[in-house]
């Protein structure tokens, strides 16, 4: 049996004393799987992702990542697990005063890698994503597509086991969106577990991957339709 990379059991989540934004979530995502997370705006997609990248804790239930219960794990034990997750945000969330190089190097620096190793790895990756000539540029001077490539490079530089993409196609043109999704599929083929949150469920259907659908805080799983053989 394939190990569960992400497991939710009866998870509920609320902000402060507000209403529950996620209710009774049960799911199990295996290592190496690819899922879209769909749902209308405000359905709780970002909250679900926050639980996975451990920016928030559930109000109730169990969240297990890499077969470890992180619901009540001490703060000091979370960083090594967070380093195994790469996150791509819709608004990229790059640090504007840092260069392209330093933004991509951040995950390696916080992990305490040597500067020699960081320089070699980051330069190679930036060359691969076509930003070798922008290594010293600050994010505000880059185009939207270039910023997205920096954000992707930052998410994958640490060779994560899981990649979470929150509305990654929201701020780029269609061509760039398709290229990004193909890149994520390629990473998935190499063994990375991928979750892509999007409000565009037509896009998710077109890619032929299983879809987790959130509505009113409740989660449903839709498997891709089998090809029509008639």
């Amino acid at each position: 049996m394939v190990a569960a990379m992400i497991r939710f059991e009866n998870v509920g989540m609320r902000y402060g004393t507000g209403p529950e934004v996620l209710r009774d979530i049960d799911m199990r995502l295996d290592a190496g799987s690819f899922h879209f997370l769909t749902g209308p705006s405000g359905a709780g997609k970002s909250s679900l992702l926050k639980l996975i990248y451990m920016s928030e804790r559930p109000s109730r239930g169990l969240v297990a990542l890499f077969e470890r219960d992180v619901s009540s794990m001490p703060r000091g034990e979370l960083p090594p697990l967070r380093r195994r997750i790469g996150v791509i945000f819709q608004d990229f969330r790059l640090i504007n005063h840092l260069s392209t190089f330093d933004n991509v190097a951040l995950p390696l620096r916080v992990a305490g890698q040597s500067e020699d190793k960081i320089k070699a790895n980051v330069t190679e990756l930036l060359t691969w994503v076509g930003l070798a000539d922008k290594i010293q540029a600050r994010p505000p001077t880059l185009s939207g597509g270039q910023q997205q490539r920096v954000a992707i490079a930052r998410a994958v530089i640490g060779k994560p086991s899981v990649i979470l993409a929150d509305e990654p196609t929201g701020n780029v043109d269609d061509e760039m969106a398709v290229r990004l999704l193909r890149l994520l599929e390629e990473m998935n083929r190499l063994g990375t577990t991928v979750i892509v949150a999007t409000h565009n469920h037509y896009l998710a259907q077109r890619m032929g991957q299983p879809r987790l659908h959130l509505d009113g805080g409740k989660l449903s799983l839709f498997k891709p339709e089998a090809p029509d053989e008639s």
Binding site: S55, H97, S99, D102, L106, E115, K119, G158
Partner: protein, 299 residues
Amino acid sequence: MIGRGRFDIPFARDGSVRFLPWIVALMVYLAGLALAGMLLLDAALGDWNRGLNGVMTVELPPAANAKDGAEEIKLVVAVLQATPGVAHAAQLPREAVAKLVEPWLGGDEAVGQLALPRLIDVRIDVAHRPDFEDLRAKLANAAPGAMLDDARQRFDRLFDLGRSVEVTAAVILLLIGIAAVLTTVFTTRAGLAVHQNVIEILHILGAHDSYIARQFARQALGLGWRGGLMGWALAVITLLLLGQAAEHASVFGPSLRLVPSIVLQLWQWALLVLLPIAAATISYFTALATVQRALARMP
């Protein structure tokens, strides 16, 4: 690209820390003056203590005639020398007495015509101090009008006052230290609020709280050190100027100053050098602890 001084958090754009070096400079400046005052006062009290310990004066009113006066002096000196605990007793020459009153009466020849009191300089064995009440009674018998002036007793109140001022200066130093800690705490908390987004990104990327706290601490160390050096330099300039002013304030020559000498010894300057180091150290550890405590409360 990968500088040692690189911060992941954009402190350079943080207006809340812009005034921190100036606040630290002011605190170190005040601390420098308080510490220098304390050191100078301590040295002066020590000197006075050493000078007055074991020194007494017996004062006799001016004699009606020279012969009776000389006899009286002989008698008093004999009483003193026979008293256990008195190590030495000798009359001060008239010229020495005239020199003592010179600052008030001037050095004219007319002063030489005045009837000046006669003084006997007495040194006592500080380990076996004489019985002063008994000695006073014996002196009154030997020479009516003789007054025993124990400088030690006279200056005790002054010493107490001096020690009180020293304690006050120490309390001021302590308060400045507390103010430095509180200023760093509030500035760091403001910084945490301003840079909340970047801190969240660093956490998501797997940064430990200590990684973020060290960045704030390094920033505070730099600001504290810069402010500390400015305050220290200003304090040194002020002390040197005050030293010059004290030299020039001497009306009656270098032996008689209206303002005490403000000259620090080498070891006292070395203590002052510790102030900017202390300011930087306090800033570093206060910021480190403040950030770690604040982040520990996050989910």
